[in-house]
């Protein structure tokens, strides 16, 4: 589905992404792990069109999407969430969700006055959809709250909710589970699995919680210092000497031996 070929992204002389190549299979939930500063978020930003790559290529279903602007990628079904949750702070939670499928009839100035019926119909569909998503994520009581006032964990849920507003093809999740309590984490995990099975979403998710990764992801890709270090099932990754050294640390090794 997504193929990244020899991708580089440098900041000045610093190589945040340093020649990464990887593939995300259609229908998979691929995990992306690695130490802090490994370049995972930067990789996401390049794929999602937020940052232009220094060099290299990204393709989606065989089509070159390198450097395509984010809103164009959105309409191709490529969505992402942010590690530090983003929201439209001046709008309610429901309005935040309803903003998501950009490119509605109502966004053309002319239609504001001359396409009112069509806009009203679209808004009704969006609103129903938003309410459904809010219920699914068990935050329907926050519907009319200003999104700027939500807690960190609630904002993470809103991030995930946004990806459910449309029929995405591939969703990049940047630490949706971080800062979220156990119960909520399970809810998120269930939501991801359901979206994957029922709606055919492909996921690529960055996560530090190995248990969470183990429950959801196959395969898992490990990044360190801008390069892909290893790829495989969670068991293979946990057993990989290089990975243990670079990321998982000796603690796990000892535990494994015990």
């Amino acid at each position: 589905m997504i193929k990244v070929e020899n991708l580089h992204r440098h900041f000045g002389g610093f190589r945040a992404v340093d020649g990464s190549s990887l593939e995300i299979r259609e229908g998979s939930i691929t995990g992306l792990v690695g130490p802090n500063g490994a370049g995972k978020t930067t990789l996401f930003n390049v794929i999602a069109g937020v940052l232009p790559p220094t060099s290299g290529r990204v393709t989606m279903a065989g089509i070159d999407i390198t450097g395509m602007p984010p809103h164009a990628l959105f309409h191709k079904g490529l969505l992402r969430t942010f590690q530090i949750a983003h929201e439209f702070g001046s709008m309610s939670v429901r309005e935040n969700l309803m903003m998501v499928p950009g490119g509605q009839t109502g966004e053309v100035l002319w239609n504001t006055w001359f396409g009112r019926k069509r806009i009203a119909d679209e808004e009704r569909v969006l609103q129903a959809k938003a309410d459904e998503v809010l219920e699914f994520l068990t935050i329907d009581h926050l519907r009319d709250e200003k999104a700027g006032n939500l807690s960190g964990g609630q904002k993470k849920l809103l991030e995930l909710g946004r990806t459910m507003m449309v029929d995405a093809r591939i969703v990049f999740l940047d630490e949706v589970g971080a800062g979220v309590n156990r119960t909520l984490l399970n809810t998120i995990g269930d939501a991801i699995i359901r979206l994957n099975r029922e709606r055919g979403y492909t996921f690529c998710m960055i996560e530090h919680d190995m248990e969470f990764i183990g429950r959801l992801c196959d395969p898992v890709i490990v990044m360190a210092e801008g390069k892909v270090l290893a790829q495989g099932t969670i068991e293979e990754i946990k057993a990989n000497e290089q990975v243990i050294e670079a990321y998982l640390g000796t603690g796990l090794k000892n535990k494994g031996a015990a």
């Binding site: 959105f74 309409h75 983003h86 929201e87 709008m91 490119g103 109502g106 966004e107 100035l109 808004e123």
Partner: protein, 347 residues
């Protein structure tokens, strides 16, 4: 003038004081405040959505006013009139269209290039200064640097003489048609703008862009469309503000350059990027400017007993220095509350 002034007549004294205050401070300040508010709204929208301080805004207003004047003259030559109302009201929509065309062309030729390069705001500010000089030259080239009159219709809703006759007070109160029109138009424009920003999808996509550009892009909102709509709305605000100011005072290209300071002061005082703030800021600046430069003796002489009557004019600042007022308020706000009275983006 003070023939009917004796000690028992306190009520008349107070009424006269109120009338003087309304005539010279309240009404002019509300009208001027409305003009500044419309100007500041344009500045604040550009700041919030396109993320730079647009120094060309004063000259955009001048261009809008000029286009309105040219169409007004055309209408007048055709004999079209609105009766007691100024013909310019009919011409404003055309002024808006011309201004929108100018701004969209400028964006296409100038700003878009820098936007695509993701130029930092400072660069865009400098670029907008260049645009300011070009627009200023354009306006003076087309209509000349001199004063132009284009107001017609009734001059007054209430004239000072009528008012005196009606009330029997010694002080008169004049309410100019242009002041009335300024206030009413500003109210309509502001209400439409807020309805637009809060209730329509186009307006919400603009707010989304202002709240969080990255997220708006990743939600599939087309930035080019948001930018275009923003310029059109800014054109409407600028042309309306410019034409109203020209109607109320008189049109002279240079005065619009000078308006830039109070307009920016209004936008910053209210909190850049915050539309409610821009309106509040407009009135704060207008009232301060007029109150501080008005000789208050004319009010006080009615309120204070004769022996306490001030010997000076009680004018805190000569009108020549009225821009110092905006400037001082601007500095104070920037020092103590950089995000403005209402929460805007920090400058």
């Amino acid at each position: 003038m003070c023939a009917n002034r004796f000690w028992g007549d306190r009520d008349d004294e107070i009424l006269n004081a109120i009338v003087v205050l309304s005539n010279y401070v309240l009404i002019p300040a509300v009208a001027y405040g409305s003009q500044l508010a419309l100007g500041a709204l344009g500045v604040t929208l550009i700041y919030g959505i396109l993320r730079f301080s647009n120094f060309a805004h004063g000259d955009t207003m001048a261009f809008g006013a000029m286009a309105t004047i040219l169409v007004t003259w055309l209408f007048q030559s055709w004999g079209i009139s609105l009766g007691p109302l100024p013909t310019a009201l009919l011409a404003i929509p055309f002024g808006i269209m011309a201004t929108a065309a100018l701004l969209l062309t400028t964006d296409r030729l100038v700003y878009r290039f820098y936007r695509q390069k993701k130029a930092p705001p400072v660069i865009l500010v400098i670029v907008s200064m260049g645009v300011m000089f070009v627009m200023n030259g354009l306006v003076r080239f087309i209509i000349g640097p001199n004063d132009q009159r284009f107001a017609d219709g009734e001059r007054f809703i209430i004239s000072a003489r009528e008012f005196k006759k009606m009330t029997g007070l010694s002080e008169g109160l004049a309410f100019k048609t242009t002041q009335g029109i300024t206030i009413v138009t500003a109210i309509i424009v502001v209400m439409t703008l807020f309805w637009f920003l809060n209730r329509t999808r186009t307006g919400k996509s603009m707010r989304a862009f202002s709240d969080n550009e990255d997220l708006a892009l990743l939600s599939g909102i087309n930035p080019d469309r948001v930018v275009m709509v923003t310029w059109i709305i800014v054109a409407a605000l600028a042309a309306t503000a410019g034409a109203l100011y020209g109607l109320d005072k008189s049109f002279k290209p240079f005065t619009y350059l000078q308006l830039l300071l109070p307009i920016f002061a209004a936008a910053v005082v209210g909190g850049l990027g915050n539309p409610v703030g821009a309106i509040a800021g407009g009135f704060v600046i207008a009232f301060s400017e007029i109150l501080i430069t008005y000789p208050l003796k004319r009010v006080l002489k009615y309120l204070l007993p004769e022996n306490l009557e001030p010997s000076t004019l009680v004018q805190l600042l000569s009108t020549d220095y009225k821009f110092a007022v905006s400037f001082t308020i601007l500095i104070i706000v920037l020092l103590f509350r950089p995000t403005g009275l209402f929460k805007g983006k920090s400058v």
